[in-house]
């Protein structure tokens, strides 16, 4: 499919159609004119014959144009003259008439001078031919210029579509990684909106790629410390001289590997939370999810001798991505257990209030000072004195998931003003 071809064919067809109509109209007009002219001629001829007949009794008729047939009848109705012996037309009424003879139409003009009746006749076919000749003469130059028109249409349409070709070329010659916007200057009004939208798309793409790059750079940077620790720890294993030393060094190494693995997992989770990826949503019972997550963390809590329990639980519904919400709840509970000392308590609440589903985790740890509460959600940010095994991504992931569910996060104190309480409020459904 080609706009140029389509336009060309359409315009040419229109031109031909119009040309055809014009030709027909011109022909009809010409024929009408010819008819009037010939009728006039017939009458004039008849009149001149009548006069002649009156003036001279010799019945000498001048040479007639072989196109015309002249017949004369006397007052008794007897034909007294016939110019062409081969063709005899019946006497028609006075005035103009059209009579078919031998399959051909003849135009007749009949008049009487009181003594004789004169009839002049002419074949109609003659008139049609003359009309056609006139029409052709008028239309010929126009028709001859149709090929010129066709060429002009082809060229002009091509020229009109050139901005599109220019844009294609501009896009084709730029560097493969270039996401610079196209120039919108001097563009025709029809193409300008398209280019504006294209530029918007390039802009969004560039932004997305930039975010990705930044994340990758951050992630690589963050991996350095855990990897450094691993390298050092391995060297200490190599240098260990006694079994006990080696055992200690290997334990250190194992801890280091666990930390690095956890960081990598968090990074993967973070990468999968790309907002551009649309994930399947469904209605989730938040209270059931909370209970399920609590069960997941039973073992960890028990190992640390931290009491994990459900607090205020009631029916609460959220429209969201099940796996992401599980990660959100899980990360908060994980943090809570990590920072709560032995013997402390971690409480999970999941309930609905004013039509909004609410989830909260309360711990008995050191809490987060008010001035740090804004920054803790930043990627890779770690509070001074925080768990060295942390990745710094836990809360960043929580925030990302909350954002994609349009939920609000609030940080506050736990029981008796100590510890930390994280409250997640989902929007009213």
């Amino acid at each position: 499919m080609s706009i140029r071809k389509n336009l060309f064919v359409a315009l040419l067809s229109a031109l031909l159609l119009v040309g055809l109509a014009a030709s027909a109209a011109t022909y009809i007009a010409a024929r009408n004119e010819a008819n009037e002219l010939f009728d006039y001629q017939l009458r004039q001829m008849a009149l001149s014959l009548r006069d002649q007949t009156l003036q001279s009794q010799n019945e000498i008729f001048p040479e007639f144009d072989y196109d015309f047939i002249v017949q004369v009848w006397d007052s008794a109705g007897t034909r007294v003259y016939l110019s062409d012996q081969n063709i005899a037309l019946p006497q028609s009424g006075l005035g103009f008439d059209t009579v078919p003879v031998n399959g051909e139409d003849w135009r007749t003009f009949t008049m009487s001078n009181g003594v004789k009746v004169i009839q002049v006749a002419q074949p109609m076919g003659l008139r049609r031919d003359r009309a056609a000749a006139i029409a052709l003469r008028i239309l010929a130059p126009l028709l001859a210029s149709i090929p010129l028109f066709a060429l002009l249409i082809w060229l002009l349409v091509g020229r009109g579509l050139r901005p599109l070709a220019d844009i294609a070329r501009a896009l084709g010659t730029r560097a493969p990684s270039s996401l610079e916007p196209l120039s919108e200057e001097g563009l025709p009004g029809e193409i300008q909106p398209m280019v504006a939208q294209l530029n918007g798309l390039l802009d969004r793409l560039a932004e997305a790629i930039e975010t990705q790059k930044q994340f990758t750079a951050d992630a690589a940077h963050e991996l350095r410390s855990p990897l450094t620790a691993l390298q050092l720890q391995v060297q200490l294993v190599e240098r260990a001289r006694s079994t006990e030393d080696r055992h200690d060094a290997l334990e250190q190494l194992k801890t280091g590997i666990r930390r690095a693995s956890r960081l990598v997992e968090q990074l993967l989770t973070m990468a999968r939370l790309d907002p551009a990826v649309v994930q399947a949503r469904s209605i989730i019972e938040l209270d059931e999810l909370a209970a399920s997550v609590a069960a997941d963390f039973e073992t960890l809590a028990a190992a640390k001798r931290v009491g994990l329990r459900l607090g205020r639980i009631g029916p609460a519904r959220v429209d969201g991505v099940p796996q992401a919400l599980r990660t959100l709840l899980g990360n908060l509970v994980d943090n809570a257990i990590r920072y709560t000392p032995e013997g402390g308590k971690v409480t999970l609440d999941a309930y609905a209030e004013d039509g909004r589903a609410i989830f909260s985790v309360t711990d008995a740890g050191p809490g987060i000072p008010i001035e740090e509460r804004q920054r803790v959600f930043d990627r890779f940010y770690r509070l001074p004195g925080s768990d060295p095994q942390g990745s710094g991504l836990g809360l960043a992931i929580v925030r990302r998931i909350a954002e994609s569910h349009r939920a609000e996060i609030e940080l506050g104190e736990g029981e008796a003003g100590r510890g930390l309480r994280v409250i997640v409020r989902f929007p009213a459904s």
């Binding site: 990897l227 620790a229 390298q231 200490l236 250190q252 001074p384």
Partner: protein
Amino acid sequence: MRLLLVEDDSMIGVSIRKGLRDEGYTVDWVQDGRAAEVAIETEPYALVLLDLGLPHKDGLAVLASLRARHRRVPVLVITARDAVPDRIKGLDLGADDYLVKPFDLDELAARIRAVLRRHEGRAEPLLAFGGLILDPATHSLKQRGRDVPVSAREFALLAALLERPGTTLSRAQLEERLYGWGEEVASNSIEVHVHNLRKKLGEGAIRTVRGVGYSIAHEDEASA
């Protein structure tokens, strides 16, 4: 040699401290910038290992204020910031060397020795004086070509005295150089080490300057 390690990552800190202690260094370890500044002001360190990404005060800020106060202690920066502008910035702010994570423990030790060497104005890697030759890379001691086995503390004491041969260091100064925080120092530890060294090297190897401290004896004195 007493070093200050400034590193906020626990695992890295533990590993470096263990690794350097095995090399015979005394290592004090802090985990944030402010604590580092306090430590540098109060204790004499032979060298500071400085991580840059620190809580409370960034490593470069610590370095800058250090140099602004004309503290000449050598600083070896260890960091994950590997971009060239970062390296240039660190060196221009007054670092003596810049090592990027992850690094090899052996390389770290070698660079420490190099920085210390330059700081002491020595071109040769070996510490030599009075017929004694100390090799910091191998912790070996030779007296007139003969290998003399010494403990880490003994080696460190000799190395301290040989920093500026002929200078006298008091007992307190030697204690500061040899023992870090949390290490028990018996009041006569230094005396015991000096005594043991004299047994191995000869009485005249180390000179007692009454009321002041100890120093390495000159060559002719040592052989006496």
